[in-house]
Assembly symmetry: C2
């Protein structure tokens, strides 16, 4: 099941499927990472103190006989936990179970995040909820054998994969101790764990960094992993993220910081505009590095922590776009001088979701008309004034912006320069909604290609 061996079925459909875009629709791949993506996979990292990561092979999908599909991230001590969940009405069992657990514990005393890939445990009724609860309980047992905690589980549960099928919960439960036994704090442990949560991702998504907060010289660490919007039969896209830090922050301010960071990161990316039933980003903070605790959002270090977390979450979220199905472009959409952040975010999101904009980018077409069109039909935005709107491309090579529309008037575009800007993988589109200072929102997206259609339309035929 090597990723580099193209399925001949794809090739009969179109001759433009690159080997790098071939994806298996099974369990996490072995990791033959496409050459163009290798630069996104770290070869080392600095991981938060007091956290360990590990994985194990379950074979959630019977066809997966080799690759780890169970991941465990654990804190050495009970710690603060928070999570942001999908807004989809059809919420998977692990989403409801994890939300209830965090609510019951008020985000305190959390020990672990346990994740299986290969089955989403979504649309599985009461039995699915019992499976998700059992998965959490089996994880708890590793930390406190024989205990029967009255407050219930201390583990956040996540699942990603096929929907409408029950988890093979006995198999999973029997391998949770193996994942626990495999826990470690090296880069290789973190990378293997990041790989175990993948589904159709072409590369594991892992980041780590250090930071300081204003009130001390203490060094802190934050690490995170995510998986992208890969499709699995019969399926939905699922985005998962797990972030850990050894900074000392209590559950309530952690929740506030995470919610705000997600708005500007995981809620500011779009591959195809679909929102899955399982989307979850969770965060653990164990304070293992010491230093002055952040106990509320009015603590002096809170704003700096908020900034660090937001930037980290943005970088993590961008990796999902780097692995967008069929994507050939990485596009930053910046809306400036808006009446409000909400307006700017809605316009950015509308442009990022427009199939006409996305196919034009794929076709390397400097099609400002489609960008303008999407700007004009963004729902719930009253502040767009055609005569004040400007559209530019910002090249990533540092050369000056290419103005396409200035205050509602089309520019004479240097088509050769436009074409050369669009040859690059990276592009920034800037839409100024007025000439006055105002709010700014940034969104990241990719293009719509033949490969997207092939990946999402053809693989069952």
């Amino acid at each position: 099941m090597a990723l580099t061996r193209p399925n001949p079925r794809f090739l009969t459909r179109t001759n433009r499927i690159f080997t790098s875009q071939i994806r298996t629709y099974a369990a996490p791949g072995e990791g033959t990472i496409p050459p163009a993506k290798k630069k996104y996979v770290p070869t080392s990292g600095t991981y938060p103190l007091g956290f360990k990561a590990g994985s194990a092979h379950v074979g959630v999908k019977p066809s997966n006989t080799r690759f780890d599909d169970l991941a465990l991230i654990a804190s050495d001590t009970p710690c603060a936990g928070a999570a942001v969940f999908t807004t989809n009405k059809f919420q998977a069992a692990p989403v409801t179970v994890s939300r209830d657990m965090l609510k019951r514990r008020k985000g305190d005393g959390i020990r672990a995040v346990v994740v299986n890939s290969g089955c989403a445990n979504a649309v599985t009724g009461r039995g699915g909820v019992e499976d998700a609860i059992a998965m959490g309980q089996e994880t708890d047992k590793c930390f406190a054998p024989g205990s029967n905690d009255q407050e219930g589980s201390r583990s956040i549960v996540m699942s990603t994969g096929v929907i409408g099928q029950r988890l093979p919960i006995q198999k999973i439960a029997s391998k949770i101790p193996t994942a626990y036994a495999n826990l470690g704090d090296t880069h290789d442990h973190w990378l293997a764990t990041a790989r175990a949560i993948c589904t159709t991702d072409t590369f594991p998504k892992l980041l780590s960094r250090t930071f300081r907060l204003p009130s001390s010289e203490q060094e802190y660490r934050v690490a995170g992993m995510t998986k992208g919007a890969g499709m699995i039969h019969p399926n939905m896209a699922t985005l998962l993220g797990i972030i850990c830090t050894d900074a000392p922050i209590a559950a309530h301010p952690l929740h506030q910081a995470l919610t705000s960071a997600i708005t500007k990161s995981f809620n500011s990316i779009s591959i195809d505009g679909d929102t899955s039933t399982n989307d979850t980003v969770a965060m653990l903070a164990n304070g293992a590095a010491g230093g002055a605790p952040i106990t509320s959002t009015s603590a002096p270090d809170f704003p700096a922590f908020q900034t660090v977390l937001t930037e980290f979450a943005i970088d993590l979220a961008k990796l999902v776009i780097r692995d967008g199905e069929g994507a050939t472009k990485f596009v930053t959409i910046r809306i400036t001088n808006a009446a409000s952040y909400t307006d700017a975010h809605r316009v950015a999101s509308t442009i990022a979701r427009s199939p006409l904009v996305k196919t034009a980018l794929y076709g390397k077409d400097a099609n400002w008309g489609r960008i303008l069109c999407a700007t004009g039909y963004a729902e719930g935005v009253d502040s767009v004034v055609p005569e004040e709107t400007s559209v530019s491309f910002l090249p990533t090579d540092g050369s000056p912006e290419l103005k396409l529309l200035v205050r509602g008037e089309p520019e004479q575009v240097d088509e050769q320069r436009a074409a050369s800007i669009l040859e690059h993988e990276n592009l920034e589109i800037v839409v100024r909604l007025s000439e006055r200072e105002g709010a700014e929102a940034v969104f990241w997206t990719c293009d719509f290609s033949h490969e997207y259609v092939t990946i999402n339309g053809d693989y069952r035929t």
Copy 2:
């Protein structure tokens, strides 16, 4: 520029472009209609009394040296007029000019609709507005030479084509008398006119029928033409529609009836979810057939007229989907037992716009997970309850529905039957939001194919 000669550039991109899908991005085509589409083009019709249609060749696009690109639909006498316009903030000059005219005249005393293809007169500033006014005035002159009506124009103006470019208004103005001279009431006149408003459409879209109203034995006629969401560089999709009837209905009830009909027809179709700057559907009613006038929405014949018009507009709107770019499927989405029509319409629209649903349909994949997922993230809908939701395919061959999900529980799907249902061009998806009686909304859409990407992404490269 025959439609049947493929551009070799397309073919290097993918080997799956069928000749029937090759579109010229120029003026209206000569009409080598793809064989599969011929059944949608009428060979005869019954047209409303007192209306005439005509066309002329302008060469709005210099590359168009042969095909009529100016259309005129005129009433023999001043009549009631109404129109529904795009909600896009970037409204093209003909949209603002026509809206102002109808407002000024309160929808009375209208004589004509004049349309050019090849240039949208959008994002053209003050000069563009002057061009649109001039286009209306030139049309007025045909009906009353030398007059200088204090209330201004009596003509609804529409443009479709390239945006950001000024109209060649002198050329257009000089050919309006030719279109007027070419006016006639035969089927051939109507069909030629329907063709002149086309851009990348692969067939002209024209319908006509007769109807009666409860209060008399009088026979009335309604005819209409539309053009689809074809793309033109640098461009936006534009949808135009023109409906004429010889029934006697005053401007105010006409406006009400049209607005309501559009909600269930042209606002219930989606090819790619983009909303253009030029979208306009206009209607004229001249009462030439006689009978009891409908002077208000409380007139006894109004409800029947409303029903006739809604059904007619639905059939006209469906033709746009039949010509969806790259489409291989015609999909009806029926949402039933909803808490409100608005909820049902929003859910239907969200499913119709989901790239994951649309690529699955293209791939003939009975992917209820994606349908459910879109149902769950429909914005502004609070009434979706997972445990009450059911999803089925309704085959068009009259065989029983294929249940995919029943009250939130996945069915064991007969994959062979699902595959055979999905082999057909037509498909109906039914989503029941509850087991209780409730509101119903119907939406029509098509799939997302490789051809869609090719048409919208590749043609400039």
